[in-house]
């Protein structure tokens, strides 16, 4: 029995090298200058100060705004869907949830590319509009296309935890509420909504955190001028070559997210 605790040894080494050290390296680059080859080790806050410039702060706020918008839409669309699914028979629910999950399994790039097809200026939607006599709308490279891509991608992440919460709920509670004279709206607000809160919070956190740090969807559907935090980090590492600044932004992003997660855990101490 005691032998078993040694089983963790490989992962201790592994996780240290591949999880802890990379983070330390990011921190190292963030606090130094001197480029890719860390030959010059002068500690400085220059990179963080650079991020405080108005242009970059606006990138941050743009990402947060988009994240909130995506999360909001996912919540508005996702909650009803999760609720309606939970009203069906168990077997049907399984099938419906499977239907919701399948797109998540399909490679992100392939799914986003599929949207490219649909939204292109010479794509199907515009073609249909043309047939109806409406002039084509330029949908690509806009806030609309990016938000659409994000919502479509993250909606399952909102639906599944909410549905799990709703499913676990004891139906007799609702029966009891009706017996005690509550109407449908009251029953919904006081019981169903309250009990599904853990799932809702879970969904909100997941969708929000993923949407503020995404970079593929904005790049493909938004074009070069769509610069969110993820794109900013990517450009620093891939084309600009300022690894120090890029690391500083990454570190900030990671810290902000970790703090948000901690706060979320405080509001809802339930462990998933």
């Amino acid at each position: 029995m005691k032998h078993f605790k040694h089983l963790t040894k490989p992962y201790i080494v592994w996780s240290f090298i591949l999880i802890v050290i990379p983070l330390l390296l990011i921190a190292l680059y963030a606090f130094t200058t001197g480029g890719n080859a860390v030959k010059i080790l002068e500690f400085t806050l220059k990179n963080f100060i650079k991020f405080l410039e108005p242009t970059y702060i606006s990138v941050f706020f743009k990402s947060v705004k988009l994240g909130l918008l995506t999360t909001g839409i996912c919540l508005l669309m996702g909650y009803p869907l999760a609720y309606f699914i939970s009203r069906f028979k168990d077997k049907t629910q399984d099938l419906l949830i499977l239907g919701v999950t399948i797109p998540m399994w399909i490679n992100l790039l392939l799914r986003t590319y599929a949207w490219l097809n649909l939204l292109a200026d010479n794509g199907i939607i515009n073609n249909l509009l043309a047939m109806l006599g409406i002039s084509p709308i330029s949908m690509m490279y806009t806030d609309f296309s990016v938000t659409l891509g994000m919502v479509c991608n993250f909606l399952p992440l909102m639906i599944i935890p909410i549905h799990t919460s709703l499913r676990k709920m004891d139906n007799s509670l609702i029966e009891a509420a009706y017996d005690l004279g509550a109407n449908r709206i009251q029953a919904f607000r006081r019981i169903i909504l309250k009990l599904s809160m853990p799932g809702v919070l879970n969904g909100i956190v997941m969708v929000f955190l993923m949407s503020i740090s995404t970079f593929v969807i904005p790049k493909l559907l938004g074009g070069g001028q769509y610069l969110l935090i993820g794109n900013l980090i990517e450009s620093q590492f891939i084309s600009v070559g300022d690894w120090n600044f890029g690391s500083a932004i990454s570190l900030l992003l990671a810290v902000i997210i970790l703090i948000s997660m901690r706060l979320m855990k405080k509001i809802d101490p339930q462990e998933d």
């Binding site: 480029g35 970059y56 074009g223 610069l227 084309s239 600009v240």
Partner: protein, 360 residues
């Protein structure tokens, strides 16, 4: 439960086997029917910049394997090799070649091994960025200009030159290149400055011009996606390289190409060999191969860019790209310039400012 697992494994295994049957066992081979004939050549080129059949052809003729990677811009290429990635042959632009030479990253070319060197046009040789072509072998050349839809754009507006791109009439209807040097070139030339300036005031003015353009015109910053989009006529104006213009114009008759009077960038892309090249002999063979008349012809025909090989240039000028002005670079305008090397400080300034333009 066990049955479920077995089924899952079976399906996954069959997927693996199918992929195996079609693919290569090494998993690292990139293109063509290339065989494992010993030698490997790693090539780093711009995207959409070669006829991919030529890669397979070379692999077959010389019994080798080519690993072919592409970059979106010279800056991306430079950052990648700075991060430790090694290639044998790269195909950057003039100013980037100047930088690579200055930083001692290239190996001199042994011209005695380039048997096809007499095929080259004299005007692409011995230029300021690499005197005597010590380090580079010409690949393609051309200009940067404006591609426009003749059915939408007013002839009279063309007199504005680069400021056509600031004409509110066409707001929301244009593409700019997502490349710091090219975009700043447009702004600097529109303001009458040199594209190689290191005067910080001029650069700041150019920055302001670009920021204004972004708010007034809402341009889309694109890369190679310009090509299919302009062919489909999705927008009316685009800043493009002459080669892309030639290709696009051969597919869409409504489009025309012009280079403004204020002057534009004349560029030369060339093949270079890196210091880390493993197989110098094979590298020279590849460069020689690209200068072969039939190969150069196939390449320029497929991609649309102007060939540095005389016979291919003449043939394309008179047949496939006849009447397409973009194919014949107009180097006569004295205001035209070649990009030159930028000091690190200026390079970083440009990169920073360009990020800020996009972030507006």
């Amino acid at each position: 439960m066990k049955k479920r697992f077995i089924i899952l494994m079976a399906v996954v295994m069959s997927m693996l086997l199918t992929a195996c049957a079609g693919g290569n066992s090494s998993g690292e081979s990139q293109t063509g029917t290339g065989r494992t004939g010993g030698a490997t050549l790693k090539i780093y080129n711009a995207g959409e910049y070669i006829d991919m059949n030529l890669i397979s052809q070379f692999e077959e003729e010389y019994n080798c394997k080519i690993i072919y990677d592409t970059f979106e811009s010279n800056e991306v290429m430079y950052t990648k090799i700075s991060s430790g990635e090694n290639y044998d042959i790269m195909i950057p632009s003039d100013y980037m070649i100047e930088r690579l030479i200055k930083e001692d990253l290239l190996m001199p070319i042994d011209w005695s091994l380039i048997t096809n060197k007499d095929n080259l046009l004299p005007e692409v040789m011995d230029l300021e960025f690499d005197p005597g072509n010590t380090y580079s072998v010409p690949y393609f050349w051309g200009t940067v200009g404006i591609l426009y839809d003749t059915t939408v754009v007013d002839e009279a507006d063309l007199a504005d030159g680069w400021n056509l791109l600031m004409n509110e009439k066409y707001a929301g209807d244009l593409y700019m290149y997502d490349s710091e040097r090219d975009s700043f070139m447009v702004a600097l030339k529109a303001l009458g400055y040199s594209m190689n300036t290191d005067n910080k005031d001029e650069i700041q003015e150019a920055f302001d011009w670009l920021v204004k353009q972004k708010s007034v015109m809402s341009p889309i910053y694109a890369g190679d996606d310009i090509i299919d989009n302009m062919i489909s006529g999705n927008k009316s104006i685009a800043v493009v390289y002459s080669g892309d213009a030639a290709y696009i114009m051969s597919e869409n008759e409504n489009l025309e190409y012009f280079t403004p009077e204020e002057g534009t960038n004349v560029w030369y892309d060339a093949m270079v060999i890196t210091n880390t090249c493993q197989n110098i002999d094979l590298a020279h063979k590849f460069m020689d191969f690209m200068l072969r008349e039939d190969v150069a012809l196939a390449n320029t025909k497929a991609v649309g860019y102007t060939s540095p090989v005389a016979s291919a240039f003449e043939k394309m000028k008179n047949t496939t790209f006849a009447g397409i002005s973009a194919y014949v670079p107009d180097t006569s305008n004295p205001n035209n310039e070649i990009f030159r090397y930028q000091e690190q400080e200026i390079k970083e300034l440009f990169a920073d400012l360009w990020t800020k333009v996009k972030a507006q």
